[in-house]
């Protein structure tokens, strides 16, 4: 656990960090976000004593960091610096393996760990091990910086815009990788970013800073639903309703789906429904229970109890998987002009559905105007 207690950092006249208090429970990711110069990097550097506070204190697992020797403190904290800072005279493998080397791991173990980490950040070990920092792109260098910080498996991570120079596509991949990794490793992470989507995707909590102070601290969905003031409202943007949907997992809002086999569906099309009831949507599956299409009610039919003819669908195009966000579900729904999106597993088996009406309701409840 990390706790900031009334922390102040002054640079001459300027208050870079202005009476900041908040805490990060063990195993959680706290994202610091705010405009350039608001004191994010400064706050981060106070944790591993790269800087000393002008007032207040920071506790790590109930111990004041000031009471721990800097070198010892830093050995237990992985640190990804904003400007990467790879060692120019060491190749990628040596850069990643430096902390294990300081900790006197054997060579074989170090090499195994290095390859493991390169795989993890999506850089082919064979190709990258021997490269030197000057031969890397900005994004590659940043990823190596992350791998270097993870090398000795420290319980605490300080990450200063670790994916800032990575292209959007790869960044998303890295964010998902990081989220998956974090679910497994449960590290206590302070993560600085400029990217609100990244903050929402990765943060258990978000701290929004401005001019050295905290303007709002909370879970992502609350911040998006109830911006504390005009500044936060502007900061999170007019699309905050949409962004907020990214905070919710499909699995939590999934309803039971009604399915029929293709054989049945072909019979039912255009025929009035025998049992006198009609579903807003009927998902059609093949013999392996995989999604192949759907049936929708036909409003023009005289009885109003008949479905339109069978429509073929591709699970990859319309389906969402349980860990995806409601934002993705909404985009599928709107993209296909449906009333609900089917929830499927990797093989396309229908697990349930997410309804547009539920999303609308959730949105109305949450967002305060």
């Amino acid at each position: 656990m990390i706790e900031f207690r009334d922390v102040v950092k002054r640079y001459g006249e300027q208050l870079a960090v202005d009476h900041v208090s908040f805490s990060i429970p063990e195993g959680e990711v706290c994202v610091l976000i705010g405009p350039s110069g608001c004191g994010k990097t400064t706050s981060l550097k106070l944790v591993n004593r790269m800087l000393e506070p002008s007032g207040g204190e920071i506790l790590l697992n109930e111990r004041s960091v000031a009471s721990i020797s800097p070198d010892e403190l830093r050995r237990g904290i992985g640190y990804v610096i904003q400007s990467v800072g790879l060692f120019p005279h060491m190749n990628v493998a040596e850069n990643v393996g430096i902390v294990p080397r300081l900790l006197k791991w054997e060579r074989a173990r170090r090499e195994r760990r290095t390859d493991e980490l390169l795989d993890l950040i999506g850089l082919e070990p064979q190709l990258y091990r021997e490269k030197y920092p000057a031969q890397l792109s900005g994004g590659e260098a940043q990823r190596i910086g992350v791998a270097r910080a993870l090398a000795a498996d420290p319980p605490v991570l300080l990450m200063d815009e670790p994916f800032g120079a990575v292209d959007p596509l790869n960044r998303e991949v890295l964010q998902l990788e990081f989220a998956a990794l974090q679910r497994k490793l449960q590290k206590t992470v302070v993560f600085v970013t400029h990217d609100l989507d990244e903050a929402i995707r990765l943060g258990d909590t978000i701290v929004i800073m401005k001019d050295g102070s905290i303007v709002q601290h909370g879970v992502p969905e609350d911040i998006l639903a109830n911006p504390a003031d005009e500044f936060v409202r502007r900061f999170v943007g007019t699309d905050r309703a949409l962004k907020r949907l990214a905070c919710f997992e499909v699995s939590e809002y999934m309803q039971t789906a009604n399915t029929v086999t293709r054989h049945e569906a072909e019979q039912r099309g255009r025929e009035p429904n025998g049992d006198g009831r009609i579903h807003p949507v009927l998902w059609v599956t093949d013999d392996d229970n995989a999604l192949v299409g759907m049936l929708e009610p036909d409003p023009d039919h005289a009885s109003r109890l008949a479905y339109r003819p069978y429509v073929a669908l591709h699970p990859e195009e319309v389906g969402v998987q349980p860990p995806s966000s409601l934002r993705e579900a909404l985009s599928r729904i709107l993209g296909q002009g449906l009333r609900a999106a089917p929830v499927v597993d990797e093989r396309g088996t229908v697990l349930g559905e997410v309804r547009l009406s539920d999303i609308e309701e959730l949105n109305q409840k949450g967002i305060v105007r």
Binding site: N48, M50, P70, D71, E72, L73, R74, R75, Y79, I81, S83, V84, G85, L86, F87, P88, H89, M90, N91, I98, V99, L102, Y132, P133, A134, Q135, G145, R148, A149
Partner: protein, 395 residues
């Protein structure tokens, strides 16, 4: 280099220039035959020197170089040029040796002195070798070794007596024992100056980097020293040291006087300071703040920072400074002979005083050889010590 982007049509200018220079120089006297060391001498051209095969070979090499200059800039042609240039230098020195022996045969006081034609063809050979080596795609150490070949061959020819007929070599034989002691004095003096400058200069450079306030005065001072002409600096040392020596018998008993080793050593050390201080400063300045932050941030102790980061990055740069300093010091030490410090410069000034150019050459050539070997040797050491990641890449 610019010539490497030449296509087929345009000739490569450096080599072509050198070949034309060499060809023109063939018509200048190769050597002068003299009755005695101060005589003016009769000039003799290469073609009149009585070594027809040598003359033909040298001419053929120059033609070959000119033709190669018109070839495409591909590795085989580049290496052909390098070999041609090396052969030219070696053939020229060997031919002069043989021609000289023929010329003095039987004449008791005869001696031959290399003249303009020799020096110009020699220059052409070096231009061809160095010009083509610079852009060659080969390990740096190999290039350095190839560049040393002519020097090694010349030393070999000298040691085996093949160049004995040449006047500078005869001057050497007349002073064999003194040569050894002056060479020793030269090496000691230059070596002591560079060692002293290293011991003083590296900490000074580090200090200038760590204390931003000290940076300006430190560099102003050592840049200032560098602008004083060496002769003047040696002169400046005389009066204060003479005074100290007179006032303090202790110093006198240590051999410190207004002239001789003490003022020379002080002046040479001061001269050697600038490249060393500058590079020590730069070696730390190139280590980016982010790299230092990263090291600190992962919990490196001061000693570990030094061992894993600062030394590997800084040492090659500091050594480069020492290399520049050493080459300069070898040259400056020649001037120190003027205030009685000895060294190879003593022959040069003696030769100048007696109007005996052969003696001057005999003093200058070992100074040149010494500079070249020290320079190339340190270049190889630096090459080996430079971490791979820093070789091609900017820091």
């Amino acid at each position: 280099m610019s010539s490497s982007d030449n296509g087929r049509g345009a000739p490569e200018k450096t080599t072509l220039f050198a070949a034309v220079l060499g060809a023109a120089a063939l018509f200048r006297p190769l050597y002068a035959f003299k009755e005695n060391r101060v005589a003016l001498g009769d000039p003799v051209t290469l073609f009149a020197a009585g070594v027809p095969w040598g003359a033909a070979f040298i001419a053929a090499l120059l033609v070959a170089a000119a033709l190669l200059a018109f070839g495409a800039q591909r590795p085989p042609i580049r290496w052909a040029k390098i070999v041609t240039g090396l052969a030219l230098v070696i053939a020229l020195v060997a031919t002069l040796g043989v021609a000289g022996r023929l010329a003095v045969h039987g004449e008791e006081f005869g001696r031959v002195t290399p003249s303009s034609g020799f020096w110009l063809v020699l220059l052409a050979g070096f231009i061809i070798v160095q010009g083509s080596l610079r852009g060659a795609d080969a390990p740096e150490a190999l290039k350095i070794l190839v560049g040393l070949v002519p020097f090694v061959v010349v030393v070999g020819l000298l040691l085996t007596g093949r160049l004995d007929s040449l006047a500078p070599v005869q001057e050497y034989y007349n002073r064999e024992s003194r040569f050894a002691s002056e060479l020793g004095a030269h090496v000691r003096l230059a070596g002591a100056a560079v060692s002293g400058a290293t011991v003083l200069g590296v900490p000074l450079g580090v200090f200038a980097y760590r204390r931003r306030k000290a940076e300006r005065p430190v560099f102003a001072l050592i840049n200032g020293i560098q602008t004083i002409p060496s002769l003047a600096l040696f002169g400046l040392m005389i009066a204060p040291l003479a005074f100290l020596s007179r006032e303090f018998p202790v110093l006198r008993s240590l051999g410190i006087r207004g002239i001789g080793n003490a003022p020379a050593l002080i002046a040479l050390t001061l001269y050697a300071l600038l490249p060393i201080v500058r590079n020590a400063y730069t070696s730390l300045a190139v280590i980016r703040g982010s790299v230092v932050d990263a090291g600190k941030g992962m919990g490196m102790s001061r000693g570990q920072m030094l061992r894993y980061i600062e030394i590997p990055i800084a040492v090659p740069i500091i050594l480069s400074g020492i290399r520049v300093s050493t080459v300069q010091a070898v040259g400056n030490t020649a001037v120190a002979a003027l205030i009685g410090a000895g060294g190879l410069g003593a022959f040069v000034f003696q030769g100048l005083g007696q109007g005996a150019p052969d003696l001057v050459v005999m003093g200058v050539i070992p100074i040149v050889l010494l500079s070249v070997f020290v320079d190339r040797g340190l270049a190889i050491v630096i090459r080996v010590l430079t971490p791979k990641g820093l070789k091609e890449a900017p820091l």
